[in-house]
Each structure stands twice: as structure tokens, then as C-alpha cells.
């Protein structure tokens, strides 16, 4: 392989990794507030479909992104109703949300299967796009990819340097202590569920707005679950999420490239790669420290006071 062959694969890796990056950051935000939301796969596919539908109806990709974010956030709030108001089990509620979301997107989307749309198109960023190699890999993508570059640093700044970030972390580590410090932990969790769901929704939107420009069933294909795994891999820190997302993007891009070149490996075996890699990535992070960085109150509901 020469450098000319590697660059397009790396560029494709960034593109394939972007929806996973959005979803991972979204789930990370929610989990840092102590809420485990396994509905990522469902929220993501709802984002994919609603973005497609909004684009199909309005023709404006930015409206589509906003719609997908609102719908993803709304599903996050459903998880909130079950777990924050009614004290439901977070694991089961998230699973139910995924079953519901996947079913809903499939049901509403069936009449539109195969419909092609426009959406975002790649463009070269001024100056940055002209850097040799790096420019080609990172700076000649669409607007949503460019937006995803500023998210992880912003995320980090928010968590580490703002009052609200502190309130979020306190709620995830020790809700009672947060409450004693004058924070309303339930309110923080509501906000985290909505904001996290919105990010996951945008991740889903990327698939129909920029990645494929069409709608078919089952477009997320487990990316939501990969995002859940990557939060663990990233030790709940945004920087490592970028690494993980592009690793998966790389494997997916590589697998597509092999299929396109007509490799003799059957496609079902190639399709296993990301799922097998998920197990591998989790093994790797557990070797570095079991459950390291997990918020202490993750998955634990805040009981109502008598």
C-alpha cells in the first residue's frame, strides 16, 4: 500500500467514526450525571430517520439536524420519565427504549425505504484543507464532521472548568452530596438526558444526512451499542472517545474498502469485525483497570423523599 491508497481510507475512517463520536459523547454526558441510558441505539436510529424525513420535507439539512437533536432528546426524556419519576430499572428501561425506537423508526420509515435525498456535501476548509496529508484526511469533510472536532474540547472545558460541569459530575458521583451543596440532582439528570439524547440524535442524523444521503431500515446497525461500549473504553473522558470512535471508523472504512475491491472474504465475516473489535476494545480497557473512571452513582436512582 502506498500513501496515496492509505489517505482515502483514513479520510473515510474519520467520516465513519463521526456518527459514533457524537453518540459516544452523548452517552458519556448522560452517564457522567449518573444515568445509564442503554437506549442509544434506539435514539440514534430515530435521529437518522427524523433527520431524513425533515430533510425530505424541508430540503434544509440544518433544520434536519435540529429536528434529529430534538427527537433524540425527547427519547432521552422518556427514559427520564421511567427512571427519574417512576424509579424504573435503568438497564431495562434503556433496553425497552431501544426496542421501541428501532421499531418506531422502522415502522414510520417503511414507506420511504430507498428514498434518496441531498444533505451535507464535503468541502475543503480554507488553509487547513491545503495541508498535505493531514488536510486530506481531516479537513475536506462536511460541516457535521468539522463541528465534531470542536465538541470534545468543549465537552472537556464544560466538565472541568464550569459550574454546571461541576454540578453534573457531582450528581454522577454522589447525588446526596450534590443536593446538600444546593444542586438539584434530579434536574441535572433531566438536563443531561436531554442534552445527551440530542447529541446521540445528531450522530444518527449524520448517517442519513452525510454518510449515505438516503433512508433504509436498520441503518445504525449496532453503532449505538458500540457507543455504549466506547464510553467504558474511554474511561468516561472525552479525549479517549475520539480515539475509540476513529478506531471503529477505521475498521468500518477498511471493511467497506475490502468489500468494494471484491475481496474473497465473505461479507458476513467482514461485517463481524466491528462487533468483535468491541469485545476486544473492552478487554483492552479492563486490562487497564476494571471500571476505571466510572461515575460512582452510575445506574443508581435517586429515591424520592417521604
Amino acid at each position: 500500500m502506498t500513501i496515496e491508497m492509505v489517505i482515502p481510507v483514513l479520510a473515510a475512517a474519520v467520516q465513519c467514526g463521526t456518527p459514533i463520536l457524537y453518540a459516544t459523547l452523548g452517552e458519556m454526558l448522560t452517564e457522567r450525571a449518573g444515568v445509564l441510558n442503554l437506549g442509544v441505539e434506539g435514539m440514534m436510529i430515530i435521529g437518522t430517520f427524523t433527520a431524513f424525513l425533515a430533510l425530505h420535507l424541508t430540503g434544509d439539512p440544518w433544520i434536519a439536524v435540529v429536528v434529529a437533536a430534538l427527537c433524540g432528546g425527547a427519547l432521552g426524556l422518556v427514559h427520564g420519565i421511567v427512571c427519574l419519576v417512576f424509579q424504573g430499572n435503568q438497564v431495562v428501561s434503556g433496553l425497552a427504549l431501544t426496542i421501541f425506537g428501532v421499531g418506531l423508526a422502522d415502522y414510520l420509515g417503511t414507506p420511504f425505504v430507498g428514498t434518496v435525498t441531498t444533505g451535507f456535501t464535503p468541502f475543503s476548509l480554507p488553509v487547513l484543507g491545503d495541508i498535505p496529508v493531514l488536510g486530506e484526511v481531516f479537513f475536506r469533510h462536511d460541516a457535521l464532521v468539522n463541528l465534531s472536532y470542536v465538541l470534545p474540547p468543549l465537552f472537556w472545558l464544560f466538565l472541568a472548568r464550569t459550574r454546571w460541569g461541576l454540578a453534573l459530575r457531582a450528581t454522577g458521583e454522589h447525588p446526596a452530596a450534590a443536593a446538600a451543596a444546593g444542586i438539584n440532582p434530579v434536574l441535572v439528570r433531566w438536563a443531561a438526558l436531554f442534552a445527551g439524547g440530542a447529541l446521540v440524535g445528531i450522530g444518527g442524523a449524520y448517517l442519513s444526512l452525510a454518510y449515505t444521503h438516503l433512508w433504509t431500515n436498520n441503518m445504525t446497525a449496532g453503532r449505538g451499542w458500540i457507543a455504549v461500549a466506547l464510553v467504558i473504553f474511554a474511561f468516561w473522558r472525552p479525549g479517549r472517545a475520539v480515539l475509540g470512535a476513529y478506531l471503529f471508523g477505521g475498521v468500518m472504512a477498511f471493511q467497506l474498502r475490502l468489500q468494494a475491491m471484491g475481496a474473497s472474504v465473505p461479507s458476513s465475516l467482514l461485517l463481524m469485525l466491528p462487533y468483535a473489535l468491541t469485545i476486544g476494545v473492552l478487554l483492552f480497557s479492563s486490562a487497564r483497570g476494571k471500571g476505571r473512571g466510572a461515575p460512582a452513582a452510575l445506574g443508581v436512582n435517586i429515591e424520592p423523599k417521604d
Binding site: V92, L95, L104, Y107, W225, L269, Y275, L282, K290
Partner: protein, 354 residues
């Protein structure tokens, strides 16, 4: 909350859970009906077709009973795992591996007489399914790997493995390119018991009785139930917690594997990708609703099987996609989860005495 306050109940609400379930079912069906209305389909008629399709006639009940067999087998294992707080989402993949194991046995030992081939087929299905459950269990115990994600990934991998075999070396050369294995020999096809109901029903009853006796009458069964209530206490009481997790995951995999074996042999008579219709995910809903009462598992498996048959009818009559079933199942689970709040909490009017 709006003039009311929340009080923890001393005793769980009697008959409450069933009442909650009925309310949740009504809520879920209403929302699903609204979704039908959104697409310009009749609300009331849709619900009626759904009901009649699943429970309204002898043929419907027969279909429902047939579908409840694999759901019941998958749910048993999942329910035991959930009770242990082992979040096994992997019944779907274990079902796929069971189907693969059974088919492998039939394609390898197809010449054996039926009385020998049938046990070999069930054994291979159980082993393959159990392996698919045990790997995530070992990964959890040895490396602390989150079993929710690993079992889910094993679902994807298992289904792709099934496709790889059926699209590849196991494909029937006379199938005109369709992805399916050759039809099983007579000795490997589970026969009919009465009507269209096959012997798989007897397998269900046998497994249910054995599991019931095991859970209630043996020390290990007691430890299983107790271990789930509080893993740390179980460890202090020197219960073999790790062994219990392995046992539960192996059992769950074997039972889901049998479900796959029975579906392949009795329903399709061959292996093809259409065997994967999501019974393993329905089993999660059933397991949570029934809380490890075997009679409840049977009841909810039958009910959700009926909803599945009803959705198939909706597909035919109103061209509603099969995904409609997922919407109903997800809604039922969400609303039951919310409703279970009232099992342990009560609302009291503010100011009154509790």
C-alpha cells in the same frame, strides 16, 4: 408532587402488578393505535385485527401457541439470569447458535436413525447455545467485562455466523441460489403432537417442571434465588457466586439453543436466515414482566406470542410493517417499568396522615 407526596409501602401492593400490567397494556395499545391512525389506518379496527389475529379463533390460538414455544424457552433462562442481576441480553444470539448447532449435527450425522439423531441434534444445539452464553460469562468473571454489551455483540456475531454458513458452505446446491440448507431428513424433524402443535410443547413443559423443582427443592436453586437478591451477601455466605453466574449463563444459552433447534427442525425443517425474528428480544420483555414465576413466564410468553401473530395479521390486512410489534413490546416494557413504581410506593394527599 402536585399536592401529593410519595410514601414507601410497607407491603407490596396485592394483585397490584397484574392491574399495573393491564393498564400498561391498554396504554401501549392506545399509543400503537394512534400510530396506525397517523399513517391513515383505522385505529379501532387495527386493534381488533391485532386481537383477533392472535387470540380470536382456533387457528389464531394454534399459531400463538406455536410461537410461544421458543419465546417461553428463551424467557426461562433470561428470567433466571435477570433474577441473578446478570443482564443477559444474548438470548437472540444463543438461539442462532442453537439453530446452527442443531443443523451441524443433522448435516454431519444425517445418516443416523431418528431415535439417535434427535438426541444428538438437541445435545449439539444445547452445547452451541451454552457456549455462546458461557463466553460472555467467563469474560465478565475473569476480566470484568460488561455482560450487557458482550452478550449483545455476541448476538450480532452469532446471527452473522448463521448467515455466513447458510449463504456459504451449507447452502443447498438445488435451492436456486436461495440461502437455505437442504431440507432435514425425516429423522431430524420434530413431529406433530396434535393439530399443528409439535412436540416442542412437551419439551417446554418438561423443562419448566425440572427448572421449577430445581429452583424450589435444591440447595443450588435456593442459592441462585438468594444470590440474585444480594450478590455481596451471597459471597459472604460463601455461596459459589462465580459458579452460579456460569451456571445461569450456560443454562440460559442451552435453553435458547433448544428454542433455536426446535424452530429449525419443527417449523422450517431446514436452516435459513428468516429464522431470526427477534424471539430473544421478546424474551427480555417476558422475563421482566414475569419476575421468574414460571407460570407467569408461560402466561406472558403466550400473550406476547399472540401480539406477534396479531401483528402478522396486521401486516396482511393493513400492510403494517412487522416492526409494529417492536413498538408495542417496547411500550409495554416502558409502561410496566413506570407502573411498578406503585408496587413499592404510594401517593398520599399532602397534609393527611400516612
Amino acid at each position: 408532587m402536585l399536592g401529593y407526596r410519595v410514601v414507601k409501602r410497607q407491603e407490596p401492593l396485592e394483585w397490584g402488578s397484574f392491574f399495573i400490567f393491564l393498564l400498561a397494556l391498554a396504554f401501549s395499545l392506545s399509543v400503537s393505535g394512534l400510530l396506525l391512525a397517523i399513517q391513515g389506518k383505522p385505529f379501532a379496527e387495527g386493534i381488533l385485527i391485532l386481537w383477533r389475529g392472535g387470540f380470536g379463533s382456533f387457528v389464531a390460538l394454534e399459531d400463538t401457541l406455536l410461537k410461544s414455544i421458543p419465546i417461553f424457552l428463551c424467557s426461562l433462562g433470561v428470567a433466571v439470569a435477570f433474577r441473578m442481576q446478570v443482564w443477559n441480553i444474548g438470548a437472540e444470539g444463543q438461539f442462532a447458535l442453537g439453530a446452527v448447532g442443531a443443523t451441524w449435527a443433522v448435516m454431519t450425522f444425517g445418516g443416523l436413525p431418528g431415535w439417535l439423531l434427535m438426541p444428538v441434534m438437541f445435545l449439539c444445539a444445547a452445547l452451541a447455545g451454552a457456549a455462546w452464553g458461557l463466553i460472555p460469562a467467563v469474560l465478565r468473571l475473569r476480566f470484568g467485562l460488561n455482560e450487557i454489551i458482550s452478550t449483545l455483540m455476541f448476538n450480532y456475531i452469532g446471527i452473522l455466523l448463521l448467515q455466513y454458513l447458510v449463504f456459504g458452505s451449507w447452502k443447498d446446491p438445488t435451492s436456486f441460489g436461495f440461502p437455505m440448507t437442504p431440507i432435514f431428513p425425516d429423522g431430524a424433524i420434530i413431529g406433530r403432537l396434535f393439530g399443528r402443535i409439535h412436540w416442542g410443547l412437551v419439551v417446554c413443559v418438561g423443562v419448566a417442571v425440572l427448572l421449577g423443582v430445581f429452583l424450589r427443592r435444591t440447595r443450588l436453586g435456593f442459592e441462585l434465588l438468594a444470590g440474585g437478591e444480594n450478590p455481596r451477601a451471597a459471597r459472604y455466605a460463601r455461596m459459589p457466586y462465580d459458579f452460579l453466574v456460569l451456571l445461569v449463563m450456560g443454562l440460559c444459552g442451552a435453553l435458547a439453543g433448544w428454542a433455536g433447534c426446535i424452530e429449525t427442525s419443527a417449523t422450517l425443517n431446514r436452516l435459513q436466515p428468516s429464522i431470526m425474528v427477534g424471539y430473544g428480544y421478546t424474551a427480555i420483555v417476558v422475563a421482566w414482566l414475569s419476575r421468574l414465576r414460571i407460570s407467569s413466564i408461560a402466561f406472558f410468553a403466550f400473550l406476547l406470542a399472540g401480539l406477534r401473530v396479531g401483528v402478522e395479521n396486521l401486516q396482511l390486512d393493513l400492510q403494517v410493517p412487522a416492526a409494529f410489534g417492536g413498538i408495542i413490546e417496547g411500550l409495554i416494557l416502558l409502561s410496566v417499568l413506570a407502573g411498578q413504581f406503585f408496587d413499592s410506593y404510594a401517593l398520599r394527599r399532602r397534609g393527611g396522615d400516612a
